[in-house]
């Protein structure tokens, strides 16, 4: 079993929809949770960074962490075609133990 599980999709939504992306993790030591966005033929770009449980909002993006259920979510409001990319979740404890999900490929159709 991978330490971070993520449904690879693909996920296709119409422009303006609310997108929900999810991951689960198994390592109770993970405290830091990240979402990266990766456009085709580009490196992952840090989108959201959270510590422990709770919500963090940045514009149209909200990251949610529930440590009790080991569940990580990213919500995208008013999705745009420019949001079409692969979204990677990642989790980390305190050392060099960052683990990535496989990535969910999202397409937002105009």
């Amino acid at each position: 079993q991978k330490e971070v599980e993520q449904d690879p999709g693909p996920l296709s939504v119409p422009e303006g929809a609310i997108v929900s992306l999810n991951c689960t993790y198994s390592n109770s030591a993970f405290q830091y949770f990240m979402w990266y966005r990766q456009y085709s033929r580009k490196g992952p770009e840090l989108l959201m960074y959270t510590y422990s449980s709770g919500n963090k909002e940045d514009g149209r993006f909200t990251a949610q962490v529930d440590k009790s259920s080991k569940y990580i979510s990213l919500f995208i409001r008013d999705s745009q075609p420019s949001d079409s990319a692969t979204y990677l979740c990642a989790s980390q404890g305190g050392g060099n133990d960052m683990r990535f999900g496989a990535g969910t490929r999202l397409t937002v159709k105009p």
Partner: protein
């Protein structure tokens, strides 16, 4: 400011040849990571450098893979006697310091194809 720079962006080589991939991290970042990304497989950790400490090589898949970091800055990942299964995108990342509370910043990777 400059981000993480990787070269070459693409590399095509024949099976059995050696390849060298280069990473130039963000200035001032002491931690440097190499990952391999295969289609649909996510990021696979390869090796981690932090300052002058001994590198964490626990992710290297075989002894054909090695990496070095000169002067605490530029890093080179070397793959000897390449095999077709080595075909992947090799990503480099750096962070201000290793470990907690230090998000990693990625380059655009080297797309390696072994014929």
């Amino acid at each position: 400011g400059a981000g993480v720079s990787q070269s070459p962006s693409n590399k095509v080589t024949e099976k059995g040849k050696d390849v060298e991939l280069r990473c130039d991290p963000i200035s001032g970042h002491t931690a440097l990571y190499w990952y391999r990304q295969s289609l649909g497989q996510g990021l696979e950790f390869l090796i981690y450098f932090q300052g002058n400490s001994a590198p964490d090589k626990s992710g290297l898949p075989s002894d054909r893979f090695s990496a070095e970091r000169t002067g605490g800055s530029v890093s080179t990942l070397t793959i000897q006697r390449t095999q077709q299964e080595d075909s992947a995108v090799y990503l480099c990342a750096s962070s201000f310091a290793g470990g907690r509370n230090q998000p990693q910043h990625f380059g655009d990777g080297t797309r390696l194809s072994i014929l």
